[in-house]
């Protein structure tokens, strides 16, 4: 039974939650509009925009030509001159075509111009493997953008945050990059109705635990939780921290957890080397939490390989629940 005054809570899929955020934003603010390839009548490659074009019309849900650099750059220019565009990359991989407008223009404009302009653009990146789409349609490139000062970069793992982060991104006057995971789109979860925001720059503790901290991003949060449940039965009590925000990164939440547990595993899908887990590890290793560490910091990242097409190989190159279990047992073995 719902208590009086609590927000209405419903089950929506991750894609539906984003669509709801976009819908609310389009309703609330005339300056908001959507741009992207096939986001109109097609509804987006992953049906995130769905039927929004029917409600809001083609001037606010704009199909762009297949021109990622131009499209993203037009969004940047519009953001510099009073609008609040939301640009959808059809796949995160195609951001490679628009890095110049993202990293050289959007990220740096405020700084280069000494604070005289803002670039409140939002960009959305359907990322990750698991759909059999092979090497050019499966990448997790949040580390590229996370390395770029001037951007904010988030990675929601649950529908509630997906909605809240889109709305938070629109309140931000800086460019916000949202990495969505393609295999999360259909995942359902509780999503409050109406307008709310999820803070950018804050991690969420998804499970508390005493023996081990698992910092995870995106779809890996689910795998970490699943692993934690198995581990609990074995007497290993894992805390699962959903990083949520890559830039800025929530140092305090991570450190606090590590100070408590003394052990850290970072799980992320992006390529291991120079991926998000490298930053998490280095952030801990240079902090006062270092003194609390009872064991090396383990990273479970994607293999140093493009994503293969064959489904077994595809699974083999990104961390699975079983990999987390092995690492956790190894790390805690005989030492708890």
């Amino acid at each position: 039974m719902k208590a009086l005054g609590t927000p209405e809570v419903r089950e929506l899929s991750y894609a539906e939650a984003i669509r709801e955020a976009l819908d609310i934003a389009l309703d609330r603010d005339d300056r908001v509009f959507l741009m992207g390839e096939d986001i109109g009548v097609y509804g987006g490659a992953f049906q995130v925009t769905g039927d929004l074009v029917e409600k809001h019309g083609p001037d606010r849900v704009m199909d762009t030509p297949i021109s990622e650099l131009g499209g993203a750059g037009v969004a940047v220019g519009a953001a510099m001159t009073g609008m609040k565009p939301i640009f959808e990359f059809q796949f995160a991989d195609f951001a490679a075509l628009a890095m110049e407008q993202i990293a050289n223009q959007a990220a740096k404009a405020r700084f280069m111009l000494g604070g005289s302009v803002s670039v409140p653009v939002v960009m959305r990146f359907p990322a990750g493997s698991g759909t059999g789409a092979a090497a050019q349609h499966s990448q997790s490139i949040e580390a590229w953008l996370g390395h770029v000062p001037g951007l904010k970069v988030v990675q929601p793992s649950v529908p509630e945050d997906a909605k809240g982060l889109v709305l938070a991104a629109l309140e931000d006057s800086d460019p916000v990059m949202i990495f969505e995971h393609k295999i999360l789109y259909k995942m359902k979860g509780h999503v409050p109705a109406g307008y709310y925001t999820t803070p950018i720059g804050k991690a969420a503790v998804r499970r508390t635990g005493a023996n081990l901290t698992i910092v995870a991003t995106s779809v890996m949060v689910w795998r970490a939780i699943e692993a934690a449940e198995t581990l609990a039965a074995e007497g290993i009590d894992a805390e699962v921290v959903d990083l949520r925000s890559i830039r800025p990164m929530d140092r305090e939440t991570v450190l606090e957890s590590v100070r408590k547990t003394g052990r850290l595993i970072c799980v992320y899908e992006g390529v291991k080397t120079l991926g998000v887990g490298a930053e998490v590890s280095a952030m801990v290793a240079e902090s006062d939490a270092f003194d609390f560490l009872d064991a090396p910091i383990v990273r479970l990242g994607g293999a140093d390989s493009p994503i293969p097409y064959n489904p077994q190989l595809e699974k083999a190159v990104v961390p699975q629940v079983s990999d987390i279990l092995v690492a956790a047992r190894d790390l805690t073995g005989g030492r708890i």
Binding site: A45, T131, Y309, L313
Partner: protein
């Protein structure tokens, strides 16, 4: 019939080559149908982009090419691959993710390639092949091989910056490359009209001072005549050119397409312009082949496809322990 009324392909090619071309068109059609069916049966993972209806541009464009000549293909690349002489069993094996596939199961439909026949690969990135094709043409020029490269691309791809940069470079360096635009009216759901600021994509050739031509892409004879001229132009060291083949994809963009952006009628109209019966009729009219022999070809194509699927199904999966093999060369070559 006076010589000049005889269609180009009848004049230019031997009957055996023309029959082989028709066979390839059937093979493409049956291949795509086989792929579609395999997909339904869950044998194929991921997505794929069928070229049903576009067989004439694939096969017609490659008529004048040898195995030394290169092509760069697209996400909708099965037809190009077959036109350039690929083995169908290895193609299916790739779709099924098998070790015997062209990419050893690592690439799938969007990366299928056959460098041994000069096919540098499909591409998952729209427009990704433009500069690669120009680079291949540059190699040919530097190595003096006389080889020509055909760069296939879609109408949608023509709006990528890579189109502009690549055609410009090819033109200033007079490279032996032919840009073949398969204009099927849509990039995914977005019609050429809504995405492209020019009515005739071939007109963009003027921006690079290169010849541009438009042909009925469902007319094998027209495609071949135009592309052959471009290939000859390139071989004669005259530089690049652009051919726009107007065609249509009879299936959806990919397996997840609900076709909400076009009408049933439009699709039906284009079905009537199916390039395969048109080409078969032409060959029959010019007595290159009999109607009966055409039916035999079609049956043979179906059989070849069935065998190819069988080969692929029976092939082994790659070893999971070798998931990251081929990221780097195993050794430095001499």
């Amino acid at each position: 019939m006076p010589e000049t009324n005889i269609p180009y392909v009848i004049r230019a090619y031997r009957p055996s080559a023309l029959k082989e071309a028709l066979m390839k068109m059937y093979l493409i059609r049956k291949f795509e149908e086989g792929a579609e069916e395999s997909y339904m049966r869950g044998l194929i993972h991921g997505t794929m982009h069928l070229s049903i209806g576009q067989e004439a541009s694939a096969v017609g464009s490659c008529m004048a090419l040898t195995d030394e000549d290169k092509i760069t293909s697209t996400h909708r690349g099965h037809g190009h691959c077959i036109a350039k002489g690929a083995d169908l069993g290895r193609m299916f094996a790739e779709f099924f993710g098998k070790e015997t596939g062209y990419c050893r199961g690592r690439g799938g439909s969007m990366h299928i390639a056959d460098p041994s026949k000069g096919n540098l690969g499909a591409n998952g990135i729209v427009g990704g092949g433009f500069p690669i094709a120009v680079g291949a043409a540059l190699s040919a020029k530097k190595l003096g091989t006389g080889a020509v490269t055909i760069c296939f691309f879609g109408d949608g791809a023509g709006n990528e910056g890579a189109f502009h940069e690549s055609l410009n470079i090819a033109a200033i360096w007079k490279l032996p490359v032919v840009f073949v635009c398969e204009n099927n009216g849509y990039g995914m759901s977005t019609s050429t009209e809504r995405s492209t600021a020019v009515k005739r994509i071939a007109d963009r050739a003027t921006s690079y001072s290169m010849p541009g031509a438009i042909v009925d892409g469902n007319d094998f004879n027209a495609v071949t005549e135009a592309v052959d001229a471009s290939v000859a132009w390139a071989r004669a060291r005259e530089g690049p050119s652009l051919v726009e083949a107007r065609t249509y994809r009879l299936r959806g963009h990919s397996k997840s397409d609900r076709n909400r952006y076009r009408t049933r009628e439009e699709i039906t109209q284009w079905m009537e312009r199916d390039p395969i019966p048109r080409f078969a009729d032409l060959l029959i009219a010019h007595k290159v082949i009999t109607r009966k022999a055409v039916r035999d070809l079609e049956d043979a194509a179906a059989k070849t496809i069935a065998e190819a699927i069988e080969f692929a199904s029976a092939s082994p999966d790659p070893r999971v322990e070798e998931a990251t093999k081929y990221v780097y060369a195993e050794r430095v070559p001499a």
